[in-house]
C-alpha cells in the first residue's frame, strides 16, 4: 500500500478554517455575554449578532465513537462547528437560537451533562493515572469520576460563592494546574525508594541520577556501581525514578493522595495563589475513593456556607485565617502542614496576632 506524501513542519491547521461565520464576522468585536443557565450562554457582538454556546461535560478520555456522536449533533444543530475548553468540556457553537432547545433535548436524551458555566464547578483538570502513565501513584480518571458524581449538581445547576476549580494529579509531576487550584488532589509517595542495584549499574547514568535529587540524598556507590540513598534526606519526590527506573518509588500499600486548597490563576481581586496543604494523606481506595470524595465535599460545603459572594476558596481562607479553616473543616493540623522545604521562611508565622 502506498502512503500519501508526508509533510513536515507545517504546524497545526489555521484556526480560521474552523470558525463559524458568526465568529468570523464578529471576531474581536464582541460586546458582552450573559449566562443563560448552568451550561448555556449567549455572546452578543457590537453588530447585534448573537452566538449561543452549549457546554457539555466530557471524561477527557473519549472513544472515537463518542466523538463521532458529538460531531453528528454538531452537524445537526450548530452547522458542524464545535470547540473544546481548556478544562476539556465540549462546546456547541450555535448561531440559530431555535436550535438550542432541540440540542438540549437530544443531549438530555443521550445522558450528556450540560453545565460548567458561571459560579459553579467546571470539569476537573486531570492527568493520565493508571490508564497511561508510568509514574502514576493513583488513578486520576477514577477519582474524577467519583468526585464529579458526588458534585454533579454543582456542575449543572447549583451555584457557589464563585467558581471552584478542581484538579487531580496522579503524581507530584502535576501535569495539570493542581498547584494553583481551589481544591485539588495530588498523589504522593511516603516511603524511600527500593533500589535494584544490579539494574541501576547497567541502565542508569549515575551522575544524572545523583544530580536529579533535590535534597542531595543520593550518592554514588562505586563498590556496587550503583547509588545509595540517605533515608533521612529523601522526601519521596520520585525524580530519581524518572531518570533511573530501577529506583522503585512505587509502594502500593503506602502511596495515596494529599488534598491541597486555595489556589487560583486569575489576578481578579487578589494575586494568583498556590494551593496549600489541607490533608497530607488519604489512602488509595479504588474504585471510588470514598474518603477523598467525602473530604472534598466537606471542604466545599464549609466554603459554600462561609465565603462571601465572589470570594474564591483561597480568598475566603485568607480572610478568615488558616487557623479558622482547620477549625471549621475539622481537618487535623499535623507536622506535615509545616513547610520544612524551600518555602519554610515564607510560610511560618511571625506575628503575635492570630485566632483560636
Amino acid at each position: 500500500m502506498s502512503l500519501p506524501e508526508r509533510q513536515t513542519d507545517i504546524g497545526p491547521p489555521h484556526y480560521e478554517k474552523f470558525l463559524p461565520p458568526v465568529i468570523k464576522k464578529n471576531y474581536g468585536k464582541w460586546a458582552h455575554h450573559e449566562v443563560l443557565s448552568g451550561g448555556t450562554m449567549v455572546h452578543v457582538a457590537e453588530s447585534g449578532d448573537k452566538l449561543y454556546t452549549v457546554r457539555v461535560a466530557s471524561p477527557r478520555i473519549l472513544s472515537t465513537d463518542t466523538i463521532r456522536e458529538i460531531c453528528e449533533m454538531a452537524e445537526k444543530y450548530s452547522d458542524g462547528y464545535l470547540r473544546f475548553t481548556t478544562r476539556n468540556n465540549v462546546e456547541f457553537l450555535l448561531s440559530d437560537q431555535s436550535k438550542m432547545a432541540p440540542l438540549l433535548a437530544e443531549l438530555k436524551d443521550k445522558k450528556y451533562s450540560v453545565g460548567g458555566i458561571g459560579p459553579r464547578i467546571s470539569n476537573i483538570v486531570h492527568t493520565q493515572g493508571w490508564v497511561h502513565c508510568h509514574s502514576a501513584c493513583t488513578d486520576a480518571s477514577g477519582i474524577v469520576k467519583s468526585v464529579m458524581d458526588e458534585l454533579h449538581d454543582y456542575f449543572t445547576t447549583k451555584t457557589l460563592p464563585n467558581k471552584v476549580r478542581l484538579a487531580v494529579a496522579c503524581c507530584v509531576n502535576m501535569c495539570g494546574a493542581v498547584h494553583c487550584s481551589d481544591i485539588a488532589v495530588v498523589a504522593i509517595h511516603r516511603k524511600v525508594p527500593v533500589i535494584d542495584h544490579e539494574t541501576v549499574g547497567k541502565m542508569c547514568e549515575i551522575p544524572t541520577t545523583v544530580s536529579s535529587c533535590p535534597t542531595s540524598a543520593i550518592r554514588p556507590n562505586p563498590k556496587t556501581k550503583s547509588i545509595t540513598i540517605n533515608e533521612e534526606k529523601c522526601m519521596y519526590c520520585g525524580n530519581c525514578f524518572t531518570v533511573c527506573p530501577p529506583i522503585e518509588i512505587h509502594n502500593p500499600q503506602q502511596d495515596g493522595v494529599a488534598i491541597v486548597v486555595g489556589g487560583k490563576v486569575g489576578s481578579l481581586r487578589t494575586d494568583p495563589k498556590f494551593s496549600k496543604l489541607a490533608i497530607p494523606y488519604i489512602e488509595n481506595e479504588p474504585p471510588r475513593w470514598p474518603k477523598v470524595v467525602a473530604a472534598i465535599k466537606n471542604i466545599l460545603d464549609v466554603y459554600a456556607a462561609n465565603a462571601k459572594k465572589h470570594e474564591r476558596v483561597g480568598e475566603w481562607i485568607e480572610r478568615v485565617g488558616w487557623e479558622d479553616f482547620f477549625k471549621l473543616t475539622g481537618i487535623p493540623f499535623t507536622f506535615q502542614h509545616i513547610d520544612d522545604f524551600t518555602f519554610m521562611r515564607d510560610t511560618l508565622r511571625n506575628s503575635a496576632a492570630f485566632k483560636y
Partner: protein
C-alpha cells in the same frame, strides 16, 4: 471483540451521572484488542493499586525528535494488545476550534491505526491519540500531515503553545490570543519538532487577567492581555445591574483591591490612576464596564509545576507590550529569553529555576529590559547586593 476481561472494579465507575471513562474504553474495546487489553490492565491496577506502564522509550517519526511518547506495558505477555501503546500528540488548532468534518477525518484515520481512544485534550493542549504501535507511527504521520495536521512537541523542546478562546468569542480579550498562538507555533516549528533545549519550554497566551488558560501557572513564557488607559463606564447599564439586584457597594466597590471605585447609588466612578486592572469589576459588570482602548499584554516568565524544588508562578518582566501581527517584537523577546536560557541552563533546568540561580539582573540584561517597580512585589529586604562596573558610570 471486547469483553475478554471481567472488570467488576471498573464497572462501578460506569454508575452515576458524570460521563464515564470506563464506558469510553469499553466502546473502543468492542473494536480493538488494544482498548480491550487496556481495560484488562487498568482493572488489574484497580485491584493491586499500582500502574503497569514502563518508562517511555525513544520512538518517533523520521526527522522528528518528539510528538510521540513511547509507552509499553510492563505485562506484555498478559496484555499483548498493549505491548506497544504509544501516544501521538497532534497539534491542536488555536482555541480548540474544530469542524465536525475535520474531527471525523481524524477519527477515521485513528480507528485504522490506533486504539480508538483519545484525550480531548492533553494538559499542554495537544489533541492526544492514545495507544498505537511503533510500526504504525510513520503511516499515521503520513496520513495526518498530508491532510494538514502536524505533530505537537514533547521532551526537551518547545512544547505546543496554547491559548484561551480570545477574540473569537470573548469581549475581555485584550490581544488576539489565537493569532499569537498560531504565529509562535509556526515560528518555532523546528524547535518544537527537534528537541534541542535544556528542558521543556511552554508558551501560553491569555486574553486578560482572568487567565482561562492558566498561563501564569503553567507556562515558561506567559502572555497575558491588559490595557493602559481608562475603564469605560456606561452608567445606564450600571443602573440596570443595580435594578437587577446587584449590591454594587458590596460586590464591586468593596471588593476592588485598590479601593479605586466609588458609588453613590447613582454613578459608579473609577479613579483610573489607582486601578491595577485586575478584571474583577469588569468581569462582574460586563455590560457596564469596558477596558480602555490602549491594549496589549504583560509578559511574565518562569512558572512551572513543583518538580523539583517547588512550584513557581510566572514573574512580570515586561509590564506592557503592544502586540500586533506579525508579533515580531514578541518573537524577538522570546528568542532572547531562550538563547540566554540555552546558553546557561543545566540539563532539566527550567528558565524560572535558572533565573533563581543566576538572578533576575542577567536575565533582564539579556532581554534588554530595564528594572521597573512593576517587576517586584517589594524591593529586596537584605543588604547584600551586587554592583557591576556599568553601575558606576
Amino acid at each position: 471483540m471486547g469483553g475478554k476481561y471481567k472488570t467488576p472494579m471498573l464497572d462501578e465507575l460506569e454508575k452515576g451521572p458524570w460521563p464515564s471513562f470506563v464506558t469510553e474504553i469499553k466502546k473502543a474495546a468492542k473494536r480493538t484488542e488494544m482498548a480491550d487489553d487496556e481495560l484488562g490492565q487498568v482493572e488489574k491496577s484497580y485491584v493491586t493499586k499500582r500502574g503497569y506502564w514502563k518508562h517511555g522509550g525513544i520512538v518517533g517519526v523520521l526527522g522528528y525528535g518528539g510528538g510521540v511518547i513511547g509507552r509499553y506495558s510492563s505485562l506484555p505477555n498478559e496484555f499483548p494488545g498493549i505491548a506497544h501503546f504509544h501516544t501521538v500528540r497532534l497539534n491542536q488548532p488555536s482555541g480548540f476550534f474544530y469542524t465536525a468534518e475535520a474531527l471525523k477525518m481524524i477519527m477515521d484515520i485513528w480507528d485504522k491505526y490506533g486504539s480508538g481512544l483519545t484525550n480531548m485534550h492533553g494538559s499542554t493542549g495537544d489533541l492526544v491519540l492514545l495507544g498505537t504501535t511503533t510500526e504504525n507511527l510513520e503511516v499515521l504521520f503520513a496520513e495526518y500531515s498530508s491532510r494538514g495536521w502536524d505533530l505537537g512537541g514533547s521532551g526537551s523542546a518547545m512544547r505546543t503553545p496554547s491559548c484561551c478562546v480570545g477574540q473569537a468569542r470573548c469581549e475581555w480579550a485584550c490581544i488576539d490570543t489565537m493569532a499569537i498562538c498560531n504565529e509562535v507555533t509556526q515560528y518555532y516549528q523546528d524547535q518544537l519538532h527537534r528537541p534541542s533545549f535544556p528542558y521543556k519550554f511552554k508558551i501560553k497566551v491569555a486574553g486578560c487577567a482572568c487567565d482561562c488558560v492558566a498561563a501564569i501557572a503553567r507556562a515558561d513564557l506567559s502572555i497575558i492581555g491588559t490595557w493602559k488607559d481608562n475603564i469605560r463606564i456606561d452608567q445606564a447599564e450600571v443602573k440596570k445591574y443595580a435594578d437587577g439586584g446587584m449590591n454594587i457597594q458590596a460586590e464591586i466597590v468593596e471588593m476592588c483591591p485598590t479601593a479605586c471605585m466609588s458609588y453613590d447609588g447613582k454613578t459608579l466612578k473609577v479613579n483610573d490612576a489607582q486601578c491595577s486592572r485586575c478584571m474583577h469589576c469588569i468581569a462582574k459588570m460586563t455590560k457596564a464596564l469596558k477596558q480602555g482602548k490602549v491594549k496589549g499584554a504583560s509578559i511574565l516568565v518562569g512558572s512551572k509545576a513543583p518538580i523539583v524544588v517547588g512550584s513557581l508562578l510566572s514573574w512580570v518582566v515586561v509590564p506592557f507590550m503592544e502586540l500586533e501581527a506579525p508579533f515580531d517584537n514578541l518573537k524577538d523577546l522570546a528568542d532572547k529569553m531562550i538563547e540566554w536560557w540555552d546558553d546557561n541552563a543545566k540539563p532539566r533546568e527550567r528558565i524560572g529555576e535558572l533565573i533563581e540561580v543566576k538572578g533576575m539582573r542577567p536575565f533582564l540584561e539579556a532581554i534588554e529590559m530595564p528594572p521597573v517597580p512593576q517587576q517586584v512585589k517589594y524591593p529586596r529586604k537584605d543588604p547584600f547586593f551586587f554592583w557591576s562596573e556599568s553601575d558606576f558610570n
